[in-house]
Symmetry: C2
Subunit: 82 residues, 2 copies
């Protein structure tokens, strides 16, 4: 099974984009994980090591694809959720 | 059938990225078209009207997703292929 991980930081525009991209992926061949970096700060380092520079980003079998531009990972690190 | 169009301008890095993204899309639900804007200049205006600002870009049912950044569409317009 291939692995797809979608990294985002929770903004509505990114969530909408994410929904469409995830929807298009072949679920018979890809196991899909969605990671909200705003809620799961521990994953930020993992994402960074995988090559994520900004969100939303899609990791396909270890290769990173930055989709549009929501926020830089550096900004997500210091983001406060009210 | 949903429609996915992948716009690119032919650089090897973009082609590699394209291959992985196209590979991940569910072919049972998406009809896929790949458009090389360097070879098919007439499509540049079509891409522009669809919202393409840079390549590579993926159009999913009319919504545009810019994936990474290869080249701005304005630069593709004046590109010369030797």
């Amino acid at each position: 099974m291939n692995k797809a991980i979608f990294y985002h930081a929770g903004c509505p525009v990114c969530l909408s984009a994410e929904q469409q991209v995830i929807d298009a992926i072949d679920k018979n061949r890809y196991e899909i994980e969605i990671v909200h970096l705003g809620e799961d700060k521990a994953q930020i380092r993992v994402a960074e090591q995988a090559g994520v520079k900004s969100v939303p980003a899609l990791l396909l079998d270890g290769d990173i694809f930055h989709i549009n531009f929501g926020a830089a990972l550096d900004d997500v690190k210091v983001l406060r959720y009210l």
